[in-house]
């Protein structure tokens, strides 16, 4: 591959804004934030056909956005084909030191890490679960080797970044095993995370939810008590959680214990405290609506979900919440197709490209 000529940017201003990192990156990121994934596909296609991408890292970042867009739109085969156009990720083509004039004094891989993650998850979405899990476990091994390498070279910032990647990949694996009801594996992976000092209240809360899902209610209560202790012991920022978020987490955990014990009134009370503190707490809103249903108040549960969608659409628009609302419609109305169609039409106007509208079952 021929080395292109360096860009005219002065070296000290390489990180001033997003556009310094890649060609029109700010625009790509804006589209992604709005959920306009189809527009991203158009933009990438246009940039490629007009030869607007000059350096290797531009190509890689645009390719990453393209792959991500296909994945978000559930076009998994196209995402996979796009990744296959690359050489092996570890090839020299994708190393900074291969282009010393473009990237002076820089070495290492310029592959955006998200590509490795998407490459591992795609086979699972395409139905080839074993291949995906194998890729994930190989990726984990790769990350751990990187951590060792950076540690031995005293690169503290890199170590921090790679450890964060290890944490996310482990969490993702737990999610996949959980989806397949491989509970013992999930519990082992969580133990692994805790042993590696990735202990934090959100993780321990999720451990509690897993225990509840299994039916181990006493175990779940133990985990939630642990979370409360963590709240009392340390400042919330040490766990990268806002004060309000931490308190709401504790309240929501309490609500679940009440819910499991069929004390829906107390559960509603806990959720209301959350909503009072943070009116955008969509988990509290959704779960409170369910409690109202179990209290025989179908009308109010429907109103609650409808209001949430109206007031805070970009936060409340979640497939699970919409499925719940549609289930309630099916129960409340003999002729429910009309009201579901109204909801569906509203969703089409407001929702991002990646929203799965089939959840309305219209």
């Amino acid at each position: 591959m021929e080395e292109p000529s360096p860009s005219p940017d002065p070296p000290t201003n390489q990180f001033g804004s997003l556009n310094d990192l890649a060609h029109e990156l700010a625009s790509l990121e804006d589209l992604a934030t709005r959920g306009s994934w189809r527009s991203i596909l158009d933009k990438v296609s246009r940039a490629r056909s007009l030869n607007l991408l000059t350096s290797p890292h531009d190509h890689l970042i645009y390719l990453s956005y393209n792959v991500l867009a296909f994945s978000k739109l559930r076009r998994f085969s196209e995402a996979s084909n796009e990744i296959d156009t690359l050489d092996d990720f570890n090839s020299n083509y994708y190393k900074y030191e291969t282009y010393p004039r473009l990237y002076p004094n820089r070495s290492g891989s310029m592959i955006p890490f998200s590509l490795r993650f998407i490459h591992a998850q795609l086979p699972i979405k395409l139905g080839n679960r074993q291949e995906g899990l194998d890729r994930f476990y190989l990726l984990l091994k790769f990350i751990r080797e990187k951590i060792k390498e950076k540690e031995s070279n005293n690169l503290r910032d890199s170590v921090r970044i790679w450890k964060r990647r290890e944490n996310s990949i482990l969490n993702c694996l737990i999610g996949h095993h959980l989806g397949d009801k491989e509970f013992s594996l999930c519990l082992d992976l969580i133990k692994d995370l805790i042993n590696r000092d990735y202990l934090d209240p959100v993780l321990v809360s999720k451990l509690g939810y897993i225990q509840m899902q299994i039916g181990d209610i006493e175990g779940a209560k133990g985990s939630f008590n642990r979370v409360e202790t963590m709240l009392n012991e340390k400042r919330s920022y040490e766990y990268f959680l806002g004060e309000v978020q931490f308190r709401n987490l504790v309240n929501r955990n309490k609500a679940l214990v009440y819910l499991v014990g069929k004390d829906y009134v107390s559960a509603v009370r806990e959720y209301e405290e959350c909503i009072e503190r943070d009116h955008t707490d969509v988990v509290a809103l959704n779960n409170k609506a369910l409690c109202l249903m179990y209290l025989r108040d179908l009308s109010d549960s429907i109103k609650l979900l409808e209001k949430a969608l109206e007031r805070i659409p970009t936060i409340a628009l979640d497939e699970t919440l919409v499925i719940n609302l549609c289930s309630m419609y099916e129960l409340a109305y003999v002729n429910h197709s009309e009201i579901k169609r109204t909801l569906n039409n509203w969703i089409v106007h407001v929702a991002p490209d990646d929203f799965d509208a089939s959840c309305t079952r219209v």
């Binding site: 310029m110 009801k181 805790i194 039916g215 369910l290």
Partner: protein, 435 residues
């Protein structure tokens, strides 16, 4: 599932099974901005390490600003556990699912008035009908619902403990005055089947081994499995102590591993040691059946959904006065392939008269087919008579023709004079090594 009659009814029943909600899980495509904007090793460069973080965090706040109506939270990873796709949002039951014996059937029932007119004086009844009985769950006959307005609803929730297997029908009926003053009757039927969740098999010597097999489609968390012994027995549960030497003390505090029986045929065994409660109760041993007790099980599924079952009385082997007792005293510790080995046996005569002579052989058993352990030499051994309450030791020469774990099975003794054959000895396992 619902069968409603044709005709112009203003009312209609809508039903939703109200078991516990569930936690949906679906790992998403969500990424950290540092994994998209730049190469993965860029932080090795001290210039990048110093200047990138502020740029990234500014961008993160911008993308996640809820007042700006963005969907940043759908693709950006804020917290590592977001990658799990397990948010704690609860999902209503999406289908009727399978109902198992021992569980509680719970249902939300809504009567809708889908006409343009009010209906009055509504008597609502809900009952469960099975092959054997009808159980009333709700009856508003004594205090009828005064009215349901046009497009209005009357809701109720019913619960029923499932104690029978097989077909169940939830029958909902409404008797009401419609807008013309006509008294109308609306019956609706919702069918479901109650299946058997577990089967329990027991094996007993003076120990009781219970094997619980899970026939459901979900994993079962066994909350409690208890053996309730019959009055003259006492029982102690025996558990292996699990050792986790690699465990860090912080994880041992976090949780102890639950006992989960895998769905679709998984099994878990429980062992109980049974002792007679007192020496006097030995006299209570009467010929015939020997009741040991019952097994009580409580299990939990999703979000603690409870199920409960109790077995019938578990019977021990009938006590019979055995005249002849045959037992193996010693088997050599080293048994080699195709080499004869000697098993030391004892024959005891519990009767008050002389018995015998006897013949001892290995019975051919159609289940096992060809035997891998046989008598070496004459296939039948002859033993002389044994006096009343006496015993006699003897040796049987056996030979094993296959390596590994094998069974000595079917050692049978018979009294040739009284022409009585006794039950064969239970199988004994041996390990056959090569030379």
């Amino acid at each position: 599932m619902s069968t409603a009659p044709q005709g112009t009814h203003s009312l209609a029943f809508r039903v939703m099974r109200l078991c516990k909600p569930s936690f949906p899980v679906d790992p998403p495509f969500r990424i950290d901005l540092a994994d998209l904007f730049v190469g993965e090793d860029i932080f090795d460069d001290p210039l990048a390490a110093a200047n990138l973080p502020p740029l990234l965090s500014t961008q993160l706040s911008k993308s996640m600003d809820s007042s700006d109506l963005t969907y940043g939270s759908r693709f950006i990873l804020q917290h590592p556990s977001d990658a799990m796709g397990f948010s704690g949002l609860l999902l209503l039951p999406q289908s009727f699912g399978t109902i198992y014996l021992g569980e509680t059937f719970c249902s939300y029932i809504s009567i809708n008035n889908n006409s343009n007119f009010e209906v009055r004086d509504i008597i609502i009844r809900a009952e469960i009908q099975t092959e054997r009985q009808r159980i009333l769950l709700l009856d508003t006959t004594k205090s009828p619902v005064e009215s349901i307005r046009a497009s209005g609803r009357y809701d109720f929730i019913v619960e029923h403990d499932v104690k029978e297997l097989g077909a169940h029908t939830l029958v909902c009926t409404a008797l009401y005055n419609d807008s013309d003053g006509e008294r109308k009757y609306l019956p609706q039927f919702f069918k479901f089947v109650a299946a058997n969740p577990l089967s329990v098999r027991t094996k007993e010597i003076t120990y009781l081994e219970a094997c619980i097999e899970n026939h459901t489609k979900t994993n079962l968390y066994m909350d409690q499995v208890e053996f309730e012994p019959a009055p003259h027995w006492s029982a102690t549960g025996l558990k292996a102590h699990e050792l986790h030497p690699a465990d860090n003390s912080s994880t041992v505090e976090v949780f102890k591993p639950p006992i989960l029986i895998r769905s679709g045929g998984g099994i878990h065994n429980h062992l109980y040691q049974l002792k007679l409660a007192s020496p006097e109760s030995a006299q209570m041993k009467v010929e015939g059946t020997n009741i040991l007790g019952k097994l009580q099980m409580t299990w939990r599924t999703n979000l603690g959904e409870l199920g409960r079952l109790q077995t019938q009385q578990i019977l021990g082997t009938p006590i019979s006065r055995k005249e002849i007792e045959l037992q193996i005293l010693e088997i050599p510790s080293q048994i080699n392939l195709d080499k004869s080995f000697s098993v030391h046996l004892n024959l005891t005569n519990h009767a008050d008269r002389e018995l015998g002579p006897f013949e001892v052989w290995l019975s051919q058993d159609s289940v096992h087919g060809k035997k891998n352990v046989m008598i070496n030499g004459l296939q039948t051994m002859v033993l002389p008579q044994v006096g009343a309450f006496g015993s006699s030791d003897f040796h049987l020469n056996l030979i094993a023709t296959k390596l590994g774990v094998q069974k000595i099975s079917g050692i049978t003794v018979s009294d040739t004079r009284e022409k009585k054959t006794f039950d064969p000895l239970p199988d004994v396992e041996i390990f056959v090594e090569s030379d």
